[in-house]
Symmetry: C2
Subunit: 335 residues, 2 copies
Amino acid sequence: MIQSGSPTLEQVAALAGVSRATVSRVVNGSPKVLPDTVAAVERAIGELGYVPNRAARALVTRRTDSVAIVVPEPDSRVFSDPFFAGMLSGVSRTLAPTPSQLVLLIEPAEADDQRLLRYLRGGHVDGAIVISHHGRDNILQELAQLPLPIVFSARPLGVEVPVASVDVDNVAGARTGVEHLLSIGRTKIATVAGPLDMTAGLDRLTGYKQAMQAAGLPEVIGYGDFTADGGEQATLRLLDDRPDLDALFVASDLMATAALRVLAGRGRRVPADVAVVGFDDSVLATTTTPKLTTVRQPVEQLGARLAEILLAKIAGADLTTPEIYSTELVIRDSA
Amino acid sequence: MIQSGSPTLEQVAALAGVSRATVSRVVNGSPKVLPDTVAAVERAIGELGYVPNRAARALVTRRTDSVAIVVPEPDSRVFSDPFFAGMLSGVSRTLAPTPSQLVLLIEPAEADDQRLLRYLRGGHVDGAIVISHHGRDNILQELAQLPLPIVFSARPLGVEVPVASVDVDNVAGARTGVEHLLSIGRTKIATVAGPLDMTAGLDRLTGYKQAMQAAGLPEVIGYGDFTADGGEQATLRLLDDRPDLDALFVASDLMATAALRVLAGRGRRVPADVAVVGFDDSVLATTTTPKLTTVRQPVEQLGARLAEILLAKIAGADLTTPEIYSTELVIRDSA
DNA sequence: TTGTATGCGTTATCAA
DNA sequence: TTGATAACGCATACAA
């Protein structure tokens, strides 16, 4: 609607004294154009301030030069999650040097999946990255079967077909966190788990169980939902049930901040009385008192890798396997 | 590249036994089509799973049905800022029921403004929202003068032409925060200010000064940069210079978390010895110990309003004035 | 190496 | 109310 006076290939061609086709070749970097011609065309382009019309190009190439980030999650909590922020950062950094633009697809509150699927099926984007922080949405299966290059940010629960995905080894990460608590002499270690309909919640609980079983210690499990409130409730219950706890493995930093607050409220010193290990190493980990010892996942790198895989798939690569990266224990003051 | 078999208007027309033009009318909800015809066309559309080709449509209508969120800020810190998250949430919620898609434009690390400006000038989007958290970028002036509907998330510093913008009254908000500290009997009130090349940093400092002057009290100012580290340094310096402080007005929640940690480290009780008021009411405000008393800005609503204004401008409205919303003091435990 | 001609899928203008 | 037809700006097969 704006660029009514925007110059076209035609006008550049006229000014440069060549044909439209030649200008097109120059614009697209075709090798077989005489240097002189190239120079003339580029001069004309500069003079006119020519910019290719994306719509016209997309119409004939059938490529849109844009990829979607799909967030099948009406909840605005997703945005304030440092996980999402890191992903976005990694993805956009990888896309920056390419011609591809990033389109954000949020599932509207009414949750009409069909609108989203129709959009993706409509060829408006060349591919999609699904930030499926929450699992078991029945939309995941449909997304996975779309005739469109697609990558998931975590193994999508409940999806049977093989799909490309990028994630950390949540099981091993959790195990490492618990093993650290064991190594500093704690034996009454409880966990505040995440929701079990998410890969992250499920796998981190598994890691906790593995470490406890290997140590021959009894499991004490509280269930949260990856929110601060949920973490608070779970911690309160755990403390009531097992007043003698000496350590807490909390499945996310956000829930860990709540746990720290609850412990302070109950007069328990951290880490002297109760040691606490979180998961994420998000910005929250350094804003707490004491600073949080936590299991770091390289979120930005995951996002970058997600974008790389998608670009490769768009270019024709056949990638349908999960990629798993490792975590790293970051020891600060809480354990 | 994908939708090679995607049905076109032509095919729908053939199946429905009408012309392309008529199908187009039905798709675009033209009132003057016979109900019977509409029904026939819709049946064909459903049967074929027809989805309009956006590129073809954009080519002729010269509208792209997409708007950009521009982040002239290579720093990935922007993403992890709850401010950005809230904005995004508000914008996307407002856009959801419209046909417009959200394109994310991040300035790549090399900071080549020209690429960004060329894209915006190229008619790839119908309008743009600039999240200009940082000010004085010299790109702001160029953005403001683009022949494109544009809205700023804060009064852009250093831009002389009138532009549409949405922000809170940072001056009044800060004043309210300081007045609360005064009302609970504090008199030795320092501030940890934000950077002065940002609207938010500048205005909140002004608000602090106004309140202190009105109370006839001396100003004690430390300068941070809206990061946790900066807040920590500034707080340490303040405490060294004025050991007798009894209150702190910190210009952002993130810096306030750092201040709380420093105070705890120095053995000062909050709020008994030193009362602390933050600014934002982001998720951080409830993850600290004690929970933060802070000045709330309705970030999501600002984002929503930003989108509304942009849509209005795209529709032809001539809006080039700032809109200022008010803040609200949220009293928790730190003051 | 360059130019000509054609078509991509849609909307809009003008007749019918 | 509907249909035929001409753009929209570009890339590419084919010719020269």
